[in-house]
């Protein structure tokens, strides 16, 4: 019998053995059912989020356009909002979405944090990485692979059929390849159907024509990551089965690996990262902002802000540069310029404080990345969340983008006061600060509305490739382990 035919025979026999067991069938059914249900829930949630996003964006714009006649600085205090646009791939993976907030208020003087947390409106039962297609697949693909593979070598060794097979002239490589092929095929069926189910769910969201190309590329990479994840766990399962003396031992070892890698390690790693690099408290954060801005918020209005000092300094500078003796003769409004100066000072303070928090989170994630080889689950979660734009990087991109918009709008308002604030004034009331200078609907309409950032496909692809590499290394370990354990020298 030729090698290929022998391989086919071994693979076919293994395939039949796999599906004879109740475990794989039951688990496959459970996984596909859970993926289908969570995909349906994800689609409903996505449509709900999009509807809310559109309504809120429209309402925020209407409120801005309906400011009426107002001093531009007052308009800055009224402010507006930026809302995060949900990505269609968020159906697959919720990632950190429920812990990030989905909007930010944009106002003068202050760079606000993103407030609401969907998770706060849920119970503690939802605090376990959620029940969405991504979490279901990352949890159940390994279990499916282990249930499919645990008997592969161990039970044959236990019953002695492995020796019989060898005695009939079938080489160990053929046996290994046949079993690997059948196991990978069986796991592949599950993963394939799950991925197709999710793809159908994503397509039902009506992805815009323009976004399809980039989304297709990201989804292809995502499928590659999931496929490698499944391959890695299958090979690891074969290695465990090969090293174990009995099927029971293989099952026990496999489950320990699954619980360790899929359930315990991600939590332990993140708790360790937090302990090693605790972020500043909210109180420390705001104290740093105050110090950076030169404000003394804690001691009442009189000592509250350094604005008056800046105002005097700007006014003095203007008197000198314009060469006039009285503030009434100034062409440029000191208030508008002073506000712009404080805005810039505030920006530096906020950049420093937010930057310090990001540095801590980055340090935490470095710890997680270093410990990632301990658990492929971390790598696959990173990939899924990056593709779905539900990770911290995507959220930070949204916040930075919104902050750039805030700065541009506030600068427009402040400079309008500075350079137009003194037009059409009479008598004493010539400062922008007193609210006498007002702007109307046309001016508000000239301020462009907030447009969310386009997906950073390149960065996302880079993250996906990094995860793919990490999971591939792990799968390579599984490959080596399974080959070594399949050798006759391991027969006892």
């Amino acid at each position: 019998m030729s090698g290929i035919r022998l391989l086919g025979v071994v693979a076919r026999r293994e395939w039949i053995e796999i599906w004879r067991g109740q475990g794989p069938r039951l688990l496959l059914g459970l996984m596909l059912g859970a993926v289908a249900l969570s995909s349906a829930e994800g689609v409903a949630r996505y449509h709900n989020s999009v509807a809310q996003y559109e309504a809120a964006t429209e309402r925020a714009r209407e409120e801005w356009l309906g400011l009426g006649w107002l001093n531009p600085h007052d308009a800055g205090h009224r402010g507006t909002f930026a809302f995060k646009k949900p990505s269609p791939l968020s159906i697959i993976e919720r990632g950190d979405l429920d812990y990030q907030g989905s909007s930010v208020r944009l106002e003068t003087h202050t760079r606000n944090d993103s407030p609401g947390r969907a998770a706060a409106a849920r119970s503690i039962l939802a605090r376990s990485d959620g029940a969405h297609p991504g979490s279901v697949m990352r949890l159940l693909i390994p279990l499916l692979a282990l249930i499919i593979t645990y008997r592969a070598f161990a039970s044959e060794r236990q019953s002695g059929t492995m020796r019989l097979t060898r005695a009939s002239g079938v080489g160990w490589r053929t046996v290994w390849a046949g079993k690997a092929l059948a196991s990978l095929g069986a796991v592949g069926v599950g993963v394939g159907v799950a991925v197709a189910t999710v793809a159908v769910a994503v397509l039902t969201t009506g992805v815009p024509e323009g976004a399809r190309g980039s989304l297709r590329g990201v989804y292809a990479l995502l499928v590659a990551v999931l496929a490698m994840y499944a391959i890695g766990w299958t090979l690891m399962g074969l290695a465990v089965s090969g090293f174990a003396r009995t099927a029971k031992q293989a099952m026990g070892l496999g489950l320990v690996c699954w619980i360790g890698w899929a359930v315990a390690v991600p939590r332990i790693v993140h708790s360790a990262a937090y302990t090693l690099h605790p972020p500043p408290t909210a109180w420390e954060f705001w104290r740093a902002v105050e110090t950076g801005r030169g404000d003394k918020w804690s001691i009442g209005y009189k000592g509250r802000s350094n604005f008056l000092a800046i105002y005097d300094s700007v006014q003095g500078g203007l008197l000198e540069s314009e060469g006039v003796g009285s503030t009434d003769d100034l062409v440029v409004d000191a208030f508008g310029l002073a506000i712009e100066v404080t805005e810039e000072e505030g920006q530096q303070a906020y950049d420093q404080s937010y930057g310090a928090v990001e540095d801590v989170f980055d340090a935490q994630e470095r710890v997680v990345r270093r410990l990632a080889p301990l658990s492929p689950v971390t790598a696959v979660r990173t990939a899924l969340a990056a593709a779905a734009e539900t990770d911290r990087t995507s959220h930070d991109r949204f916040l930075d983008h919104a902050e750039q918009y805030r700065r541009a709008v506030m600068s427009t308002l402040n400079l309008d006061i500075a350079y137009r604030g003194r037009e059409g004034r009479t008598g004493e009331s010539t400062r922008g600060m007193d609210g006498a200078y007002e702007r109307g609907p046309d001016f508000w309409a000239s301020v462009p509305s907030y447009e969310p950032p386009t997906p950073a496909v390149r960065d996302i692809s880079k993250t996906l490739l990094g995860s793919l590499l990490s999971i591939s290394m792990w799968a390579l370990l599984g490959l080596i382990g399974s080959v070594v354990s399949a050798r006759p020298s391991w027969d006892r």
């Binding site: 990030q100 849920r122 503690i124 500043p280 911290r392």
Partner: protein, 466 residues
């Protein structure tokens, strides 16, 4: 038959896997309590520092304004407006009382504000929406004691007993035992009790002693009762899982079948079931964006046109710029009304949350892992109701303070030193450990019911007709 207990006990204690499992579990449990205690201490330290800082700022300001010779207020701070700009705008701090047993379960404490700093007429200086946390760590879940109990204790029990019956069948001991007149139901029930008791004898004292060492405050009578209650929850939850293992063993299947079945039950009961239940019962679709919008608008209502203009022109003209104050009762009434509107939005949101939680808890009573999760978070005081109680107390205090500080601009009379010294003082609401006896009854009831099913299943197999 008395020997059977002893033999089972000895066999277990001599087994290497028992020691490996118990040591690993103990290490993880102690580690999780340390993680919880670390987070609890950090919160406590921040709140103490914040409160002391704010208190000293207030006292220093009052002292600074007091004239040395007379002990009366410096006229600069006496007038309604000047005084108001100083006293009324002093930022205040309020923090919740960190519960003694918070280390047991972090619960929702990392998602709700646990301290605030704000200025009395400008709630837009309300700084702390929440404590700063890495969203990924929050999403994956902390490794606190509730996670160890809910996820890992059942796994250790499964590891110890999943093959209790098949082990005897494959080794040939079962026929020997039955030949001596022993009944499988009795033998495996005792084996299950021994495995469960052996784990509990080590685990429960270890946990309670660690809690006592890490949190000396629980040594009071209330604390001791709370610890006994905690032990009851741990033992009851373990009893439920041991009964489930007993039931699965009664089906007479192979060791691998038992392992697969138990792991699937565990996966559904602890990992997939709870969030799914929360989503389906509580309403899966988040209303986050709408909610954000409403809260934002209510929170920052003081920045709306009318209020901002009123506030700025009536109360906050800067005397350096030569403007006269025109503070009026109408302006203050408007500010008060906006503050109430903001509080009302927060209360409506809180009420909806409590109602949702009530529905989820009712449905979750069928799921022991959820019962234990809620029981621990209640005991630790990090449950939604306690966190919302703090928020409500803080809002009430803010209202008291605002009323006290606005009295002078409204009446137009001078501030007095007595009034400043007698200003309202923040007292955080007490967070007594909540012990829901229903949770204990429920857990033990479920454990006994499943054990009863296992017993019946074993007895049916013993029947001669089988």
């Amino acid at each position: 038959m008395t020997d059977l207990w002893r033999i089972e006990g000895r066999l277990l204690v001599r087994s290497g896997s028992w020691w490996a499992l118990i040591l690993t579990l103990s290490g993880v449990a102690v580690g999780s309590l340390l993680v919880g205690r670390g987070i609890q201490e950090r919160e406590g330290r921040t709140i103490v520092a914040l409160t002391v800082h704010q208190d000293s700022v207030w006292r220093a300001q009052v002292e600074d304004a007091r004239l040395f010779e007379t002990g009366r207020l410096n006229p600069e701070y006496l007038s309604p407006l000047d005084g108001y700009l100083t006293w009324g705008f002093t930022n205040l701090a309020a923090g919740r009382r960190v519960p003694e047993l918070a280390m047991l379960s972090i619960g929702q404490a990392d998602l709700f504000p646990t301290y605030h700093v704000w200025g009395n007429v400008a709630p837009n200086t309300l700084f702390h929406e929440r404590e700063i946390s890495n969203p990924t760590t929050q999403a994956l879940g902390w490794l606190d004691f509730s996670v160890v109990l809910v996820l890992f204790v059942p796994l250790v029990l499964i590891g110890l007993s999943f093959d209790a019956a098949p082990r005897d069948r494959s080794s040939g001991i079962a026929p020997l035992l039955m030949g001596q007149g022993a009944r499988p139901s009795t033998v495996y029930a005792r084996r299950s009790v021994v495995a469960w008791a052996a784990l509990m004898v080590v685990f429960v004292p270890l946990v309670t002693c660690t809690v006592l060492i890490l949190s000396p405050g629980v040594r009071s009578t209330t604390g001791a009762l709370a610890l006994i209650w905690l032990a009851g929850i741990v033992v009851g939850y373990a009893a439920f899982w041991q009964a489930t293992i007993f039931l699965v063993n009664s089906f007479g299947r192979s060791a691998t079948w038992n392992a697969t079945a138990l792991i699937l039950i565990w996966t559904v009961a602890t990992l997939v079931g709870p969030p799914t239940l929360d989503g389906f019962v509580g309403g899966g679709g988040t209303e986050q964006i709408d909610e954000d919008m409403e809260r934002w608008i209510a929170e920052f209502a003081l920045d709306t046109d009318a209020a901002y203009q009123a506030l700025r022109l009536d109360l906050l003209p800067d005397s350096a710029l030569g403007e006269e104050p025109t503070g009026s009762q109408a302006t203050i009434a408007r500010l008060e009304s906006l503050r109430r509107s903001r509080d009302s939005t927060a209360e409506t949101w809180g009420d909806a949350l409590i109602e949702r939680e009530r529905r989820v808890r009712a449905a979750a009573s069928a799921l022991p892992s959820a019962v234990v999760g809620f029981a621990l978070v209640d005991l630790g005081g990090n449950d939604v109701a306690s966190l919302l109680d703090y928020a409500e107390a803080r809002r009430d205090f803010e209202a008291q303070w605002t009323a006290a500080m606005m009295r002078r601009p409204v009446t137009g009379t001078d501030y007095s030193i007595g009034e400043l010294e007698g200003a309202p003082v923040w007292t955080p609401p007490a967070v007594p450990p909540t012990r829901t006896w229903a949770a204990l009854v429920l857990l033990w009831g479920q454990a006994l019911a499943v054990a009863g099913l296992g017993w019946i299943s074993f007895r049916r197999r013993e029947h001669p007709s089988r």
